[in-house]
């Protein structure tokens, strides 16, 4: 819970990754899924989620579909073709970042 600031810069990558694995999702579902996957460690606030989703939509990475569910409307998001490519790039960037951080935080000394 105290690490929210560290996760802030990775919100778009998290959203893209979730949509890559789940075809289409709606806002509330994304927050619950992240909460569940991280066992409550990361809680995406609505105030950060929707502006990020709308930015990804404006950048052409997400497509939207509005459907009637019960007696209300629900907006679903799914990856576009560009979004799928961008997800792969962002995940590669993230792996690289994690590797660098690992070297910095936990350096392995060698005599070579």
């Amino acid at each position: 819970m105290g690490n929210q600031k560290l996760y802030k810069g990775s919100l778009q990558t998290i959203i893209l990754k979730l949509l890559e694995s789940n075809d289409k999702m709606y806002g509330y579902e994304i927050t619950q899924h992240v909460k569940e996957l991280t066992k409550g460690e990361l809680q995406i606030t609505e105030g950060a989620l929707y502006p990020a989703l709308h930015k990804l939509e404006a950048d052409g990475l997400l497509d939207v579909e509005v459907a009637k569910v019960g007696n209300r409307l629900r907006k679903y998001y799914k990856l576009t073709e560009n979004g799928t490519k961008e997800t792969a790039n962002k995940l590669a960037e993230m792996q690289e970042f994690l590797k660098t951080m690992q070297h910095l935080v936990n350096p392995k000394f060698s005599l070579e």
Partner: protein, 217 residues
């Protein structure tokens, strides 16, 4: 447990009381609040209590706030301002560059033109700027008349005042003086003014697209 139409109506009234009519956000915010309430109700909490707890959680997102990007005079719900910043940030830098770059360039490399050419450019800029000012006035009226609120209409509202740059640079002043020397400050004003027109045009289109997209909803 799914909310009844009457209970959903109460949630809609809550959004109305917060003056939250932004159609590009409303559908999913409404759905999210309802899902929150339903989640509480699954734990055997009454609708009234679940709604009260959800309202406490959402209150911070509806709190009026302003941003450095739009000026302190313009405030809206925090969630709207956050979305607006994400959409507007790159345009803010375009706006600054459009002003600063010509000023720097023409201060460093002064330009002199023949009086005939200078008069032609001044005349052209005056006419073109007048058309652009009229276009922004058209956008302003169209947005007011449509009565629909989107995050983009909020951004537009914060940008209209920028048209003053075009009026200062090309209508009240002139880019070239009587001797044919280019005035870097007025050139910066005109350039910033055109950037404002472009920004208004871009967000007006986005506003109209959003109305088209969510009108059915």
């Amino acid at each position: 447990m799914e909310l009844t139409t009457q209970q959903i109506h109460k949630v809609e009234e809550y959004l109305n009381s917060k003056n939250f009519g932004f159609i590009d956000l409303r559908v999913e915010i409404l759905d999210h609040i309802i899902s929150d309430i339903e989640n509480f109700m699954q734990k055997n909490i009454s609708f009234e209590n679940a709604f009260a707890m959800t309202r406490i959680r959402w209150e911070k997102h509806f709190r009026e706030t302003s941003s450095f990007y739009f000026g302190m005079f313009f405030s809206e719900s925090k969630i709207v301002v956050k979305k607006a910043i994400k959409q507007f940030r790159s345009f803010y830098f375009l706006y600054l560059t459009a002003y600063i770059l010509p000023v720097l360039i023409f201060k460093l490399f002064p330009v002199n033109a023949t009086v005939g050419f200078a008069n032609f450019v001044n005349g052209f800029l005056l006419s073109f700027s007048a058309v652009m000012v009229c276009y922004v006035v058209y956008i302003f009226i169209k947005t007011i008349v449509s009565k629909q609120k989107t995050t983009f209409s909020f951004i537009l509202k914060t940008q209209y005042f920028g048209i003053i740059f075009l009026i200062l640079g090309a209508v009240l002043g002139t880019v070239f003086n009587e001797e044919g020397e280019l005035n870097p400050i007025f050139t910066g004003f005109v350039s910033a003014g055109f950037a404002v027109v472009f920004i208004c045009h871009y967000f007006f289109k986005k506003h109209q697209e959003a109305i088209q997209k969510y009108k059915i909803s």
